[in-house]
């Protein structure tokens, strides 16, 4: 395996974080709900990929941290679901996006500063590459 593919998994997941955070910031700043379908799709696929292929590996080594991550996703999904069923012109819609962004910012911070660091030690390069490919495959099917 070449050096190029090392740590590709974490770059990919961080790339997702950055992209979705950017879209959320735009939505809030411009009070423009037009990107919401894209945000929702991206988040759903990203969370599904992590939950199916990445978190189970963390769960084996550090159950407590993994379980908290699942719960953070779960709260994100609750708010996403509310955004989906609330009228885009409802005055609570943008405040709900702000809360979603805070929840995700906190989760991303924990993931990038703690979980990815741990995962690098837990996973072999081959395992990382396998997870990266599984997540790419899921993205190509779903997006």
């Amino acid at each position: 395996m070449g050096v190029d593919s090392m740590a590709r998994l974490f770059d990919m997941l961080k790339g997702d974080h950055k992209e979705v955070t950017g879209l959320l910031t735009q939505t809030i700043e411009n009070k423009d709900s037009s990107q919401f379908p894209q945000i929702r799709k991206m988040l759903e696929v990203h969370m599904e990929g992590e939950e199916k292929y990445f978190y189970p590996k963390i769960m084996e080594e550090d159950k407590e941290t993994a379980l908290e991550s699942y719960e953070e996703h779960h709260v994100g999904k609750l708010v996403l679901n509310e955004l989906n069923k609330t009228g885009k012109d409802d005055e609570a819609w943008i405040p709900k996006v702000e809360v979603l962004k805070d929840v995700l910012d906190h989760h991303i911070e924990e993931e990038e500063s703690k979980i990815f660091t741990e995962a690098q030690q837990i996973l072999s390069n081959e395992q990382e590459e396998e997870i990266a490919q599984q997540i790419e495959e899921l993205k190509s099917q779903r997006m």
């Binding site: 379980l67 908290e68 699942y70 719960e71 953070e72 709260v75 005055e91 609570a92 809360v99 805070d102």
Partner: protein
């Protein structure tokens, strides 16, 4: 079991009273997580609900007239807190997801409390005049003492 009663005569203003609530609930939640002991959950739930109700009925509306966007977000932060509280209530205490859910509630509240104490309360001190502050203080105290006279079981049933 009865609700832990706060001696409200100790406080001179509404902000100190609300900050005391924050510290008390944070302490109970930290204990729950550190000791993995769910016995204080009813107390946490009732204290949070009484606290949120007081803010939403008396403090937030006065501030919302001045800064609608900021206060609409505070209502939504409470709302997400209530969603997680509700899940904690309906999830078995011995489910392995119960403590992780409590940790998520803790993170949500930490963030909300930080915003409230460092942004909203200082702003409220600027925006509200003394009479308004006293009026809100009195109403929140009255609402808390009404709730605290109820046995906790009864509050949990209605809410």
């Amino acid at each position: 079991m009865r609700l832990g009663v706060v001696n409200m005569a100790e406080f001179n203003n509404v902000y100190d009273l609300l900050k005391n609530d924050h510290n008390m609930v944070k302490g109970l939640i930290k204990d729950t997580i550190d000791k993995r002991d769910t016995k204080n959950f009813d107390e946490i739930k009732v204290q949070l609900e009484i606290h949120m109700m007081g803010e939403e009925k008396y403090l937030y509306p006065a501030l919302r007239e001045k800064d609608k966007a900021k206060m609409d977000k505070s209502y939504q932060e409470h709302h997400v807190g209530k969603l997680v509280l509700h899940e904690l209530k309906k999830t078995d205490k011995d489910n392995e997801r119960w403590i992780p859910k409590m940790k998520v509630l803790n993170d949500i509240l930490d963030h909300h409390i930080d915003e409230e104490e460092n942004q909203i309360f200082p702003k409220a001190r600027d925006l509200l005049d003394k009479d308004q502050e006293q009026d809100i203080f009195k109403k929140i105290k009255r609402s808390k003492s009404l709730m605290e006279k109820q046995p906790m079981k009864k509050i949990l049933e209605v809410r």
